[in-house]
């Protein structure tokens, strides 16, 4: 707990430090990272902690974003309405998709979550009046009161930081609660969990929905971040990206999503914005092919993790 507080204090001081060195751009980047941290953490709940390899998590993330975007374009800009709506819609989508997918397991489950998430992608992309393929531009960020828009970088950063803290604390309590214990047991031995009297399907579904709801919140935030909603948020490549963050940061750990988002997005930024001299002389376009590095790193981590990714589950029992 003390470590957590220390981290948050540092994160809270960050913008002040940036202001001093005229690095306000980094505050905006950091907000983005924190939002993805929330999204990745929600995936870690269902994937790392719950053991459900859901490849469609981007659907809930993007759905949340689109709800905020569509409402904004239709004139409803209040965060008090739009954000809960985003969470509700994402949770509902998770309920529907989860209800159908969780009746299957293994390879079927992975493919089905992928397919249904892609279905949601197509639904939103087909809404031509809300951007279609090009995405949806919002008139601005959400409002919290009559004239108060969340437009300042400082304010926005602290709001996102507070929400991340809230999410992490709530998940910390969840994991140590009765519910969390059952989910942990289900991941460990699903058949026996059912055999001692737990209706396993219901627990898995609820875990799935909670994770979807949190992803919806992250979606609402990402829409606000640049006042723009891209359909790529819903694409399954985005689901894969969230998974990469979870792996990098630590599967089944409380901070895994945060670390993973920071590392992946930080790396992407570094590669894109800072030209490494000697590398550039070997391969002038190297910055266009960052995906190669990401893929290679991911592959190495996955192949060399001694007991596989599941081995990392086994070592970290307490999130």
């Amino acid at each position: 707990m003390k470590r957590a507080i220390a981290v948050f204090v540092l994160l809270a001081l960050f913008p002040l430090a940036m202001q001093a060195v005229d690095g306000m751009f980094y505050v905006s980047l950091a907000s983005r990272i924190l939002i993805y941290a929330i999204a990745a953490t929600s995936l870690n709940l269902v994937l790392g902690y719950g053991g459900m390899v859901s490849f469609g998590h981007a659907a809930f993330f993007g759905a949340g974003a689109f709800v905020v975007g569509i409402l904004a374009v239709e004139g409803v800009r209040s965060a008090w309405i739009a954000w809960p709506a985003a969470i509700a819609v994402a949770a509902l989508a998770a309920l529907v998709i989860g209800a159908m997918s969780l009746r299957t397991r293994g390879v079927y489950f992975i493919m089905i979550t992928l397919a249904f998430a892609q279905m949601i992608y197509y639904i939103f992309v087909s809404l031509k009046s809300y951007g279609g393929d090009d995405g949806l531009s919002m008139p601005g960020r959400s409002t919290v009161a009559a004239d108060v828009t969340l437009s300042g970088d400082f304010l926005w950063y602290y709001l996102v930081l507070a929400l991340l803290a809230l999410v992490l604390y709530a998940l910390h309590r969840l994991v140590h609660s009765r519910f969390g214990r059952v989910i942990d047991a289900i991941r460990e031995n699903e058949a026996r969990a059912e055999a001692i009297g737990f209706p396993v399907y219901r627990y898995k579904l609820l875990c799935f929905v909670i994770a979807g709801a949190i992803a919806g919140l992250a979606g609402a935030l990402i829409a606000n971040q640049s006042s723009y909603v891209s359909p790529s948020l819903l694409h399954w490549i985005q689901s894969g990206t969230l998974m990469i963050m979870v792996i990098l940061g630590g599967v089944g750990t409380l901070w895994g999503g945060v670390i993973g988002a920071a590392v992946l997005l930080g790396l992407e930024h570094l590669i894109a914005d800072y030209r490494i001299g000697w590398l550039a002389s070997l391969a002038p376009n190297y910055q266009d092919h960052a995906g190669l590095a990401v893929g290679a790193v991911l592959l190495i981590i996955v192949m060399l993790a001694p007991e596989g990714i599941a081995g990392l589950f086994r070592r970290r029992r307490h999130a």
């Binding site: 309590r173 609660s177 519910f179 214990r181 059952v182 031995n189 026996r192 059912e194 055999a195």
Partner: protein, 247 residues
């Protein structure tokens, strides 16, 4: 307490369970024996709800539970232990048992209060641990337990759900003589509280514990009765080749 009426199951061309009708009365230790492959574990899986049946009915305390899912049968008082140890390997002995206690004491759709604060759960879990002989091993991660201890925990998990009927599937599997004696003693101890349907190969244990014995061969029930009766039954001797039944 438990009534099986005409249970049948096929897997493709193979008949796994052939019109089995069986009764387990309250308070007894009813042993189910038979050669390997006879379908004993299949029957246990069917009674506990893991394996659907093609025909027949299962009645528990007069209630038809044939369509009920496993967790609902557990809630009704029907618990099972496994032939191949199936415990929560990452969890400690105490946590394993506490989980089973948690399953039947209140709702686990509780998201805020830490489980570790619920002393009642852990006290009861410790009690059960003592009963099964693991009282000194509470904080050991169960994957580190010796085989015999794991089997004890295996039974303990089922016991912790406070069942009325306990289905024990070869509890003594892979046990040495000393461990087997301990398990026999445990089953003796619990018979006052729990009705038991015991699947076992260890004939010593079967004849010591059983009030009645049923014999399953190739999915069919060929005999049911008191131990002495079964011992003397010609068809049973034939099915078993006389080797496993003590002379």
């Amino acid at each position: 307490m438990l009534e099986l009426r005409g249970i049948s199951k096929r897997f493709g061309g193979v008949v796994a369970t052939d019109d089995v009708t069986l009764e387990v009365t309250k308070g007894e230790v009813h042993a189910l024996i038979g050669p390997n492959g006879a379908g004993k574990t299949t029957l246990i899986a069917q009674i506990s709800g893991v394996l659907p049946i093609d025909a027949g009915r299962i009645l528990f305390n007069g209630v038809d539970v044939t369509q009920l899912r496993t967790h609902a049968r557990v809630a009704a008082g029907l618990a099972r232990s496994y032939q191949i140890t199936s415990i929560f390997r990452r969890f400690t002995v105490l946590d394993n048992l506490a989980l089973a206690v948690q399953a039947r004491s209140g709702s686990s759709f509780s998201f805020w209060r830490p489980v570790s604060a619920e002393r009642a759960l852990y006290d009861e879990a410790a009690l059960i641990a003592n009963e099964i002989g693991l009282g000194e091993r509470l904080d050991v991660v169960s994957s580190s337990l010796a085989h015999g201890e794991q089997r004890a925990l295996e039974v303990g998990l089922a016991l912790a759900t406070r069942p009325q009927l306990l289905l024990l599937d070869e509890p003594m599997a892979g046990m040495g003589p000393q461990e087997s004696q301990a398990m026999i003693a445990l089953i003796e101890k619990m018979r006052s509280r729990v009705t038991v349907l015991l699947v076992e190969h260890d004939m010593d244990a079967v004849f010591r514990l059983a009030s009645r014995i049923s014999v399953l061969v190739n999915g069919r029930l060929i005999a049911t009765g008191a131990p002495a009766q079964i011992r003397a039954d010609a068809e049973v001797r034939k099915a078993y080749l006389g080797e496993e039944i003590a002379a």
